[in-house]
Each structure stands twice: as structure tokens, then as C-alpha cells.
């Protein structure tokens, strides 16, 4: 079973627009991470937000975490065609030593 579930499953936007992806999870977590996967490649870590943090920024990325709603969002501002990829949230639960990935959001940025 998947801990994190991303929404939407797919997103298509124009270059320059902002892209927002959401992630919901089920259990208590230690932290939540977002990863990116280009087609045919391995996942690359983007950003980690801890359970006691509410917002974090890294370049054009902004991540929020609401532990009361068990949800997180990833905002990519001023998107570029090179941002086209799949984005996954992953939760590291407090009870174990495992990171669990969601099914991902496929983002397509049109030039």
C-alpha cells in the first residue's frame, strides 16, 4: 500500500506558469521528501521538510507541510520546459526505517 498519494496524476502547463502538486499521506511521519524523475532515469532528491516545519524553499521550489491534514504541496514557480518530469513525494515514517513513495505526478511544461 502506498503512503503518499500525489494529486493530480498529470499536469500540463505553459512555460512561465506555476505548477502545484499535492501529496497526502496516512500515518505519522518524521519528514516528507520530494523527488524528481526524468523519463527513463532514476529519482533525484529535491527537498526535505521535517514534521516540525511548515514551509521550506529551495530556488524555485516551495514546499509546505500540514501535519494536521497529513498533506504537503510542492510549488514550482516560473516553470521551464526542463521542469518536465515526474514528481514523487516520499514519507519517512516514525515507526520504522522505511521511506514510502507515492505514485507521482507527471508534469509537462510546454515551451
Amino acid at each position: 500500500s502506498q503512503q503518499g498519494e500525489e494529486d493530480p496524476q498529470a499536469l500540463s502547463i505553459q512555460e512561465g506558469e506555476n505548477a502545484t502538486m499535492n501529496c497526502s499521506y496516512k500515518t505519522s511521519i518524521n519528514n516528507l521528501q520530494w523527488y524528481r524523475q526524468n523519463s527513463g532515469r532514476g529519482l533525484v532528491h529535491l527537498i526535505l521538510i521535517r514534521s516540525n516545519e511548515r514551509e521550506k524553499h529551495s530556488g524555485r521550489l516551495r514546499v509546505t507541510l500540514d501535519t494536521s491534514k497529513k498533506s504537503s504541496s510542492l510549488l514550482i514557480t516560473a516553470s521551464r520546459a526542463a521542469d518536465t518530469a515526474s514528481y514523487f513525494c516520499a514519507t519517512f515514517d516514525t515507526g520504522g526505517f522505511k521511506t514510502i513513495f507515492g505514485a507521482g505526478t507527471r508534469l509537462f511544461v510546454k515551451a
Binding site: S1, N31, R41, G42, L43, F88, T99, I100, F101, A103
Partner: protein, 114 residues
């Protein structure tokens, strides 16, 4: 090498054959993982190892085995491949820090079982 490598890049295998997917990391990470990725299902954990000499079962371990004889290598073996094991397999490693567990992924092995 720098990071994590996998071999082979891709493989076509007859059902019933034995196959070992190789994974090597040079970051001295304690933890290593094997995932399979199927369309629409994201990543599913097959097996993991928290440290050399120990292994554990993930979400979908049936039909797969692993070993962790040393820190760097974490091979995944399919004893008798079946078509449902057609997938893209990713190896990953992490420092093993209980506080974060950021994972670093290999490039993947695309396996087709006919």
C-alpha cells in the same frame, strides 16, 4: 565511480531463467534498497538492507532475494523469472540516518521477462 551504479542497463530474459541485477555504491552509505517501478504504481520496495550483513523484506519481496556481504554491493536475484517481473528496477542507497533517510538512486535496469 561516483554515486550508485547498476548493471545491466537492460535485459531480456526467458521465463524460468535465473537473473542477478547488480548494484554498487561508493558513498559508504549504510542503507541500500531495491525498488521496482511499474506504470501507475510508483515505486514499490522489494528488499532493503540497513547495514552490511542484514537484509529485510519490503512491500513486494516474493520471487526476489538479496544479499549484503559488504557495504558497497547489494545484488538482487530473481531465482526463476516470471513475466510479471517485467519492470524497471531501481537500486538506491542512503546514509542510514534515522532522521532523514534521503535516498540516492541508480539509473535503473529495464528487465523484460518473456
Amino acid at each position: 565511480i561516483a554515486g550508485i551504479t547498476q548493471a545491466p542497463t537492460s535485459q531480456i530474459l526467458a521465463a524460468g531463467r535465473r537473473m542477478t541485477l547488480r548494484c554498487t555504491q561508493d558513498m559508504r552509505h549504510n542503507a541500500m534498497y531495491w525498488y521496482r517501478q511499474d506504470l501507475g504504481l510508483g515505486l514499490r520496495l522489494i528488499h532493503y538492507s540497513n547495514t552490511a550483513g542484514t537484509t529485510g523484506k519490503g512491500e513486494v519481496p516474493d520471487g526476489y532475494s538479496v544479499s549484503r556481504a559488504n557495504t558497497d554491493d547489494f545484488p538482487l536475484t530473481l531465482a526463476s523469472a516470471v513475466p510479471s517481473q517485467t519492470s524497471v528496477y531501481f537500486c538506491a542507497s542512503s546514509p542510514g540516518d534515522r532522521d532523514s533517510d534521503t535516498q540516492y538512486f541508480g539509473p535503473g535496469t529495464r528487465l523484460t521477462v518473456l
